[in-house]
Amino acid sequence: MSGRRILALFRRVVQEIRRDHRSVALLLVVPVVMTGLIAFIVREGESPAVDAVVVNTAGPPGLVVAAALGVALEADGGTASLVADEAAARAAIEDGSASVAVLLPAEIAPGVAMTVTIMTNGLDPAGESTQVAQVGRAMLAATASATGMTVPTIIRTTLYGVPSDDPMAPFAPAILGFLAYFFVYILTGISFLRERTGGTLERLMATPVARGEVVGGYLLGFGLFATLQVAILLAWGFGSVEVPALGPLPSFSVGLGLPIAGSPLLAFIVVVVAALGAVSLGIFLSTFARTELQVVQFIPIVIVPQFLLCGVLFPISSLPEILQPLVGLMPLTYAVDGMRQVLIAGADLGQTALQVDLVVLTAVAVFFATIASLTIRREIA
């Protein structure tokens, strides 16, 4: 043990890190910015104003409740309006003009147990829970003040039926999409960086190969592994294979058995297209990195904001107003939405929402592939 030698090592570490401005920034600035952003999201995240439609089949007492509900919701900046029947209410939720539908029971009278059905879109389970809770509180106030009636029982449902009671179900679409994206980015970024640092890119550029061909080859290569990864991930996620009891071994099931309303193939396509975007993003960003550490350093800059804003952690509907425009810029937003469309809404390729997601994800992949091939430096195109 020599104090001097330890001191020498200490000095070397300090000298090296001090000169690596990115590491200093990562260490000192990024955590401050990150916590600031998260605090902002959590504090300023407003419970969005609820626009409710009310279906009244109970006659005058229902009108009284609806009016009281309207007053309660308006206090929070929302609205309540009457629609003719459940079909109209569904239509209003589907086209986004209302976020919640309240279906009143056929009979509203003192002493009669009252069951109210609250319906939401269902695509954003966490965000909608907030809204349902808000409407539930408003209902409580409305029924009590308007009629002095019993506390209503609230049944929650969605456009796509009663939400699964699997606690993992609300997270599954977002988590599956995010993880595939993240790991593919890391793999590609670091691999392509090796091409630069190992001198092979220089040599490759001295051959007749075109830059687009390099990026194309990488897209195919990593695309293959991304595809494999997604296939395994989704099989694990949706699959549930019962293994029968064998001798002393009890039976057990393999796979998470997550609920999926739509076609697993579509879910697969959504994630693969998103992952191809991660491949081109990885190639593009590796241009700005000199070491593998620096590829990792991009994570808080390009991955974490996407994680915070794409609805994995915080429901998009409850994000602060000022961040909403950013949400639309995050490729992951579309991956998560696409997965929700397939997993929860059971969307097929005919659904506009899913089409939009796929088109945006494809465009993102093509865009980054293009600028990635432009950033590979050579004088010959």
Partner: protein, 283 residues
């Protein structure tokens, strides 16, 4: 095209006449069977031509008005200390970097040109091989990129560098010298008529170095133009002609004997110092 931006510093003593390309240099006549097997090479004869090449990085003139013609079928040695501009010059000639002024031509075509890149072999200073692939996979990969899909040329290239029996070895497990040899093989797989070799013999043992040079010689005899950079003077005499590079300029050109005579020194190293000092004096 920036033509010969006035050679203001042309009055350098002991340099005048040596640097600018005087086509075929004196004393070259016997050596090459020039042009044999170099299909499509311009009849003009210059396989590689630099005209008034300048490359600046900020205030630094890394290549400072270099002009020369290199004839097919000969081995040229780019000699100079570290940082003198050898690699930058090769990058300009291969079209990997764009000159600030002047132009580079290979096989009569202005660089950069992807078509000509298919006929250039370039061995970079770093090995530039994939450590995760085997020897054979590396060679076959570069062959495919060059558009060569037969096994023959690949096997030949590996045989030349004495790696034929290590085809299935993972490149990352090779010794430094073996990696260097693989790197050379990867530059030969498409049998290019023009070869740029950036310090090819660094880390190679003397025996293999002799074999390397024998192979370079046979390639040149077949009509290939070979440009070898080195800072090892004892390799210089194996070249048909030498270009001394110092501070981005060609300060002398000729056979080893001519340069010794010009500098009036017995050895090339002394000649280099002598000629370099002459340049230094005018700066």
């Amino acid at each position: 095209m920036a033509e010969e931006a006035g050679r203001s510093a042309a009055a350098e003593p002991g340099v005048a006449g040596a640097a600018p390309g005087a086509g075929a240099a004196p004393g070259a006549g016997a050596a090459p069977g020039a042009g044999a097997g170099v299909a499509g090479a311009p009849s003009a004869g210059a396989a590689v031509r630099a005209s008034g090449l300048v490359k600046t990085f900020g205030p630094i003139r890394a290549i400072d008005d270099v002009t020369f013609d290199l004839t097919a079928g000969r081995i040229y040695g780019l000699l100079g200390p570290n940082g003198s501009g050898k690699t930058t010059l090769i990058r300009l000639l291969t079209g990997m970097a764009r000159p600030t002024a002047g132009r580079a031509e290979v096989l009569g075509v202005p660089m950069p040109s992807r078509a000509v890149l298919a006929r250039i072999g370039y061995m970079t200073q770093s090995d530039g091989i994939y450590p995760g692939l085997t020897v054979g996979e590396n060679a076959r990969f570069f062959a495919a990129v060059y558009g060569v899909h037969e096994r023959g040329p690949v096997d030949d290239a590996l045989a030349v560098v004495d790696l034929a029996d290590r085809v299935d070895a993972v490149a990352g497990t090779l010794s430094g010298g073996q990696r260097r040899r693989l790197s050379l093989a990867c530059a030969l797989v498409h049998r290019p008529p023009v070869l740029f070799l950036d310090e090819p013999t660094v880390g190679i043992d003397p025996l293999l170095r002799v074999e390397f040079w024998a192979h370079f010689r046979s390639l040149a005899a077949g009509g290939a133009t070979i440009v070898v950079s080195s800072h090892v003077m004892d390799e210089a005499d194996r070249c048909d002609e030498l270009l001394f590079i110092r501070s981005g300029k060609v300060i002398a050109r000729g056979t080893g004997a001519e340069i010794r005579a010009q500098a009036g020194t017995p050895g090339l190293e002394e000649a280099f110092l002598q000629l370099g000092a002459a340049v230094g004096a005018t700066r």
